[in-house]
Symmetry: C2
Subunit: 268 residues, 2 copies
């Protein structure tokens, strides 16, 4: 069984500290209309920006997952559209680097980043699940955030749990790479996609924020691990062929070929 | 603590079915002399060739791991050299797709491929460990064979077990890829390297065997996931900086950042 899903990864223009302007940009992105089922993915911390001066600034920009400003975004979506929006979450005084999953009926889920990057530990509490899988009106969607995607344990886990596509909000700071190479994070997600035939939708930032240059890695990666779309006008759009077929060539199956009974200890 | 190790990945000329000629080519490769500690990696099934007409042909080309023709290869090595040689192994009537690890003192280990590709199941029995780690005169070496390397569970496992470098004999059949992209298997191993800071030495075939075109993916991949060397005259040589430092940037550690307690079940 195979079916098609249109996906839209938006390299949102984000202004650090200006929640109202960022929410307006989010709203603009969610108002897009495309034929057929649609998955929209926006960057990590899209409502706040990323390069906080300190934890107090992040706290001032944080919202609860049931904040009316977020919940009302659902009203912008058509019934066959799902959106994944990175935001700075506060809950019971604790901050999380989270992604809200929205359908036209309301909030479908909220995932909290489990692998914190850089100085994030000074701001956020890590989440207590390694990626999430949600059944939504557009399919079974895996969600992870930025550095999460560099742990193959997580991407494999979501694929084995039946995720048809991985939605990955990120803020990738630019790192050096050899001429002609993709960003290293892109390579890791191309590999993860091919390893499990897990199509992946990456929404990154672009430009510079408080001295941090972003990688501009927004892309759609197909289940066979190739870059299917990069941004035009800030948006990467593609139609993915979704399938639970994990075969590779005529004789192999990427899931059935695993030998989990051997992956525990090490014989030296 | 960091130290240097010279590595040499040889895209050996192999003649399907001609064990004597292939052993001569292996001997030539093992006679190379380089300054300092040296790890030599030869392709998968280097003594036999890969594209067997049937299981009977493979059986006729197979050798025991203690075959004098193999054991005597150790005599060609200098004391600070270790070699990993793919061969077609027979043991108690069963065939394995194996890699012999040799030092000047003799056979150090024999690893049997655990993840069988294509029609290999009609010929070989899969091994019962997912990659191996051996302490050798040139360091703690991880060994896996071809399709094994496409399972991140295996590469991560070897890295966590302290492998300083991964020796990977392969026979990669050419597959289509977009213009300008690396072979998909290369991308998976670049990702695996960066994921665990595990330098990787890939010895592939080149040319065509019985209609199968090889990828020519022989390469040395550095611990940060970039291609450090490709073949010149059939041999890719590089000096690797080996280290047990798994840090990524100023605030992260690729091993300490793992959250294995979350990688089990899936919350949906």
């Amino acid at each position: 069984m195979s079916r098609q899903l249109r996906v839209s990864a938006v390299s949102l223009p984000v202004e650090i500290g200006d929640v109202a302007a960022n929410l307006a940009a989010v709203e603009h992105a969610l108002r897009q209309r495309q034929p057929g089922p649609l998955l929209i993915v926006l960057p990590e911390l899209a409502t706040s920006g990323y390069v906080f001066a300190d934890a107090a600034e992040a706290r001032a920009l944080a919202m609860r997952a049931d904040d009316p400003r977020l919940v009302s975004l659902a009203g912008l979506l058509s019934p066959d559209t799902v959106a994944v929006v990175g935001f700075c979450e506060i809950d019971d005084g604790r901050l999380f680097n989270s992604a809200l999953v929205l359908g036209s009926a309301g909030v479908l889920g909220c995932y909290r980043k489990a692998h914190l990057w850089g100085t994030e530990r000074g701001v956020f509490v890590p989440g207590d699940e390694a990626g999430a899988v949600l059944d939504t009106p557009v399919g079974r969607i895996g969600v992870a955030i930025c550095y999460d995607g560099e742990f193959p344990e997580l991407t494999r886990r979501l694929a084995l749990a039946g995720a048809e596509v991985l939605a990955l909000p990120v803020n990738w700071p630019m790192v050096a790479r050899p001429l002609g190479e993709h960003p290293p994070e892109t390579i890791q997600l191309m590999a993860a996609a091919r390893t499990s035939r897990l199509a992946t939708v990456i929404a990154d930032r672009h430009g510079v924020e408080r001295g941090v240059e972003w990688t501009g890695g927004t892309a759609v990666i197909s289940a066979d691990g190739w870059i299917q779309a990069t941004p035009a006008g800030g948006v990467a759009t593609a139609v993915l062929d979704l399938s639970d077929d994990k075969s590779l060539g005529a004789h192999n199956d990427l899931f059935a070929d695993r030998r989990p009974e051997l992956y525990g200890g090490i014989h030296v």
